[in-house]
Amino acid sequence: MKNLVLSTAILALSAGLATAQTVRMGTEGAYPPYNFINDAGEVDGFERELGDELCKRAELDCQWVTNDWDSIIPNLVSGNYDTIIAGMSITEDRAQVIDFTQGYTQPDPSGYLVMSADADVKGGVVAAQTGTIQAAFIAESGATLVEFATPDETVSALRSGEADAVLADDAYLQPIADENDDLMMLEQQEMIGGGVGMGLRQSDDELRAKFDAAIDSMKADGSLNALIAKWEIGPGF
């Protein structure tokens, strides 16, 4: 009897909590300006601000979780968190496993970070992060691909001479090129992104609709463009 009362109480309590739905936001925390860990040890960046605003508009209670890029999709699918908000471009391949919201950035061109302007990006060695659209692009392009688990390691590989160039989102590479005299961006860019969206489980249509609506409202009142400009993510909408 006691157990019955207790479990009813727990059920009632959890039903009460369910009205303010808690959503766990999964991100990588290693890809500035999209997402990174700041000096205070917290998730920060464009997607942190964007995600918090989206949650406010969708009246969701959001918690931030970091996860390695490698396993970010499997851990979403098995339910460790509810969304991926990690600078993930919307692609056909990924859409077979997870669903995406509409894009919250314009397709951002990918750029080459190099040490000298005559680097060979067609036939040389190009570094990219594992499981990114850039890695898939190089694998097809004829250049030799070297993959790394984190974006930072691709830049180290360039510096150590292991790679001739790094291919990544322009927004990630530009600040690095600006601050380091020995590194520069090539003029040549590749249009391979389809815009960045939030990833959700395919069974979570309701949550996806809420985020889509929130993104719509941020596009409509210009607050999304303001964020994009603030973090220098690329062209606005």
Partner: protein, 278 residues
């Protein structure tokens, strides 16, 4: 510089050393328990029980640690949620496996999505401890199994001749004497366990390796007050010193323990001690 080393982010790094030590402090006795249970099962007189013990030792020792870690943690987590789902959401009519997704009702999530972040982290840590204990328990079981057989047979026969039951002979004669045979194997295992703690990183727990990589990576001035180049080498050097110092201290302690356990034992070391005292 001192400001740099005391950022809240660095505090996370220092706390992570505590996480590793805590993992060792819980895992070591837990593995010993698993090992002792496994060894007792393996030498049980009832054949099926002995098969379970021997199967546990053979299977877990045979599977690569990384494969076991990746598989077992996911399987355990989903298993727990599946059972809880069956209990608390029996009226749920949708399938649990929907395509790629593993979907249980919100009340069956372990831990609940509404739980605080520290509960999620403790849960992840708990599954890691359990996995470590199972893996290293299998190795410990093998060591203890051998140690039990190494205790000279006449000791047990003498005990039985004095009228002790099988159980009494085991607990009063064999167990106190087996440690001296088990210790070299167990100390080896302890060293391997210390070195295996970076596997935590593989399980998504923010341990010292995670923070060393994160903070050692080059930082641009736009996103931090302390921009720097690639400092991973220095952070990993710090880890190297930590692990070396820790294993050295362990060696000294284990050597002392060996001396203590050899006292009065019918082994070469015990005999040497007796002669030195005489």
């Amino acid at each position: 510089m001192s400001c740099y080393l005391t950022t809240p982010k660095h505090m996370n790094f220092y706390t992570a050393f505590g996480t590793v030590l805590l993992l060792l402090a819980i895992t070591a006795p837990a593995s010993l328990l698993f090992g002792f249970g496994g060894a007792m099962l393996a030498r049980h007189r009832i054949a099926p029980l002995s098969w379970i013990g021997k199967g546990y030792i053979a299977i877990v020792r045979g599977v690569p640690d990384i494969a076991f870690f990746l598989f077992f943690v996911i399987a355990l987590d989903q298993g727990i949620e599946w059972v809880k789902h069956k209990v608390v959401c029996s009226d749920w009519d949708q399938p649990i496996r929907q395509g790629n997704d593993f979907v249980v009702c919100a009340q069956a999530k372990v831990p609940l999505a509404t739980s605080a972040e520290w509960i999620h982290e403790s849960y992840a840590f708990g599954t890691a401890v359990l996995t470590f204990a199972i893996v290293f328990g299998a190795f410990a079981a093998n060591v203890l199994f051998g140690a039990m057989r190494a205790v000279p047979r006449p000791q047990i026969e003498t005990a039985e001749a004095y009228g002790m039951s099988h159980r009494q002979a085991f607990w009063r004669v064999m167990v106190p004497q087996m440690w001296v045979y088990a210790l070299p194997g167990l100390s080896n295992l302890w060293m391997v366990l210390i070195k295996a703690t970076p596997l935590l990183f593989l399980l998504g727990i923010e341990d010292i390796v995670y923070w060393a990589r994160e903070m050692g990576g080059s930082k641009t001035a736009r996103f931090t007050d302390y921009p720097h180049g690639d400092w991973r080498m220095w952070y990993f050097l710090a880890l190297l010193v930590f692990y070396l110092a820790f294993t050295r201290v362990s060696e000294i302690v284990l050597d002392r323990l060996m001396v203590r356990l050899s006292r009065g034992q019918a082994t070469a070391a015990g005999e040497a001690q007796r002669r030195a005292d005489a």
